[in-house]
């Protein structure tokens, strides 16, 4: 009914019925420009004051390249850990019944809600050699706090909700009939999972991975306390920018910021494409 009304009325009349187009668009663009676009453009304009060789030297110095390797490597591994365990958590939350399920479901968002500085000092305290977890790992010769492994722990923590929150709704929507059909036709549980369930949730897993990865590459607060921040070893790129700023090397900090921005915008575009793919697949699925 409702659909018939909107499709039969031409778009031009709908525009006229609802008021406030110019006011709301005008305010949206004004505020967006003032708060986001003008300040962000400052980053790019600032780098134009640098010469190309100076820019290149800044973004390819040995120390900053080591920080890229750590930041992107640890973010990648953390997102991968979250794909595996986030996938399992969303499976358990959707498919199984157990006491306290709603409580645990709500708690999954804790890394979103907990300020990063709090997460940082807590993880650093837990994984320090005399901390609750650190003293269990110390006899095994594993050092987490103040090593690159600490960066991985912090990035895993902050990326935890992303995969769960993207996979969970897809798993809820997924038709169990397909799995039943596969099982009743003689497929094993493993075959059913890899051939039926996994293809259904794959776009969601990839989107969750990309979101967790993107968040982790820019993360600062939760990492700096546990990382130890040794140049070349456990120094992440955002911290390196802060170091440059504290030396009043604004141009240097900005050059690295441009590299990070270009990478994160590319990631944003990739995430948008993934989400569009997800929506198309879901739409196609619901039509069938």
């Amino acid at each position: 009914m409702a659909l018939a009304v909107t499709t039969s009325s031409p778009v031009s009349t709908r525009k006229r019925v609802i008021p406030g187009f110019h006011l709301s668009l005008g305010f949206t663009l004004f505020y967006l420009g003032l708060i986001v676009l003008i300040p962000l453009s400052a980053v790019f304009l600032k780098t134009f004051t640098m010469t190309w060789p100076a820019f290149w030297d800044t973004i390819s110095s040995e120390r900053v390249v080591a920080s890229y390797r750590l930041t992107f490597g640890a973010s990648f591994l953390a997102a991968l850990i979250n794909v595996v365990f986030g996938g399992i958590v969303s499976w358990v939350l959707v498919r199984y019944e157990f006491p306290g399920k709603r409580f645990i479901d709500a708690m999954v968002d804790l890394p979103f809600a907990l300020p990063t500085a709090v997460a940082g000092i807590t993880l650093a305290t837990l994984y320090a050699p005399n901390g609750w977890i650190g003293q269990l790992l110390a006899p095994l010769g594993i050092k987490v706090a103040f090593t690159p492994l600490g960066v991985l722990v912090a990035l895993t923590f902050i990326g935890l909700p992303f995969v769960v929150r993207t996979v969970q709704p897809v798993l809820e929507e997924a038709e169990k009939e397909l799995e039943e059909a596969a099982l009743s036709l003689g497929a094993s549980h493993w075959q059913t999972f890899t051939r039926v369930t996994l293809p259904t949730i794959l776009p969601a897993l990839m989107t969750g991975f990309a979101l967790a990865f993107a968040r982790a590459t820019g993360e600062y607060g939760s990492v700096i306390f546990i990382a130890g921040n040794m140049p070349m070893i456990s120094e992440i790129t955002p911290l390196f920018m802060i170091t440059k700023l504290e030396q009043y090397d604004y141009a240097g900090a900005t050059a690295i910021a441009v590299v990070m921005l270009v990478l994160s915008f590319s990631l944003l575009l990739a995430i948008n494409a993934l989400q569009a793919w997800m929506r198309r697949r879901q739409a196609a699925g619901s039509k069938v």
Binding site: R14, L40, V43, I121, E219
Partner: protein, 299 residues
């Protein structure tokens, strides 16, 4: 069902699970292994840290805890955090409503570009979010000289902190409202307008009641981030004790001074805020599900 009809004479001793459930449920050992993996992971990364915050905060007893959160510097940090969130959240709320109205109610060119631009602050590192204001208002920045001549302080002062907070929390309300208002369509508003309501009346009496839970949801998330933001605020704050320290910055300073009990005491307040946020969020989700359920049954 079929099991009962086959043997009607004997009483059913055990209720079989419905066939469809039994068919797709994994063997018991797989189920237990998966649940063990999930709970182990969540315990390690969520529950142990959560317990640790409060355990560290109360390590030296109630008196130290109370002293830590009522000393003048801590109170000033709490005040500044409330001010920053108190300005950033309402501004982003107004923006969120305007942006959602524009995107959900009208068709225009460049809509998807606008949507991407609104999401931009989410994909920018907090450090860069602070850096941009240093480039604008710092001593060597675009407006640095003009600000110095007019004796206006933005960077390393409260306005810079407020601006950085606004930037990092910019998309939250818009993000919640846009999909919600797109899904609701504009038939109800059209009906109100055709019946003679003015634009503002339609907004207050038709749109707002429809989006109130989504609005609240967005505000809760926006507020949590505004009060907890660390990276961006740390770049613009200058870390002046009792003046430009927000609660997360106060946590950092205390921790770096090895005053762990006080650091975790202030951190525990932020943790309580996070837990309150999660509780409110769960409540709003429950309310929206409740109000949607009858609709689903009708359609």
């Amino acid at each position: 069902m079929s099991a009962i009809s086959v043997q009607p004479a004997t009483p059913v001793r055990r209720v079989e699970p419905p066939l469809s459930l039994a068919a797709t449920t994994e063997p018991r050992w797989i189920r237990y292994a998966l649940m063990l993996a999930a709970f182990g992971f969540l315990t390690l990364f969520l529950f142990v840290p959560l317990v640790a915050v409060f355990s560290e905060a109360f390590k030296k007893g109630w008196q130290v805890y109370l002293d830590s959160i009522t000393e003048p510097d801590a109170l000033s940090a709490i005040r500044l955090t409330l001010i920053a969130a108190g300005i950033a959240v309402p501004l982003n709320l107004v923006f969120g409503v305007a942006a959602a109205w524009t995107i959900a109610k009208f068709e225009f060119k460049g809509k998807s570009v606008l949507l991407t631009l609104i999401d931009l602050p989410f994909s920018v590192s907090p450090v860069i979010s602070g850096l941009i204001y240093v480039l604008l208002f710092g001593a060597q920045g675009w407006f640095g000289e003009w600000l110095r001549d007019h004796d206006i302080k933005i960077l390393f002062a409260v306005p810079g902190i407020v601006l950085a907070t606004i930037f990092v929390t910019f998309p939250f309300v818009a993000r919640e409202l846009i999909p919600l208002m797109q899904a609701q369509g504009s038939e109800e508003e059209e009906a109100a307008l055709v019946l003679g309501a003015s634009g503002w009346q339609t907004f207050w009496h038709v749109t707002l009641p429809n989006i109130k839970w989504g609005l609240l949801y967005g505000v809760i998330l926006c507020n949590a981030r505004a009060m907890g933001e660390f990276g961006a605020v740390s770049v613009v704050s200058g870390h002046i004790r009792g003046e430009t320290n927000t609660m997360p910055l106060q946590v950092e300073i205390l921790y770096n001074e090895y005053n762990f009990a006080a650091a975790f005491a202030v951190a525990s307040l932020l943790t309580l805020l996070a837990l309150l946020t999660l509780a409110l969020k769960a409540l709003v989700e429950w309310r929206t599900n409740e109000s949607q359920a009858p609709l689903d049954q009708i359609s």
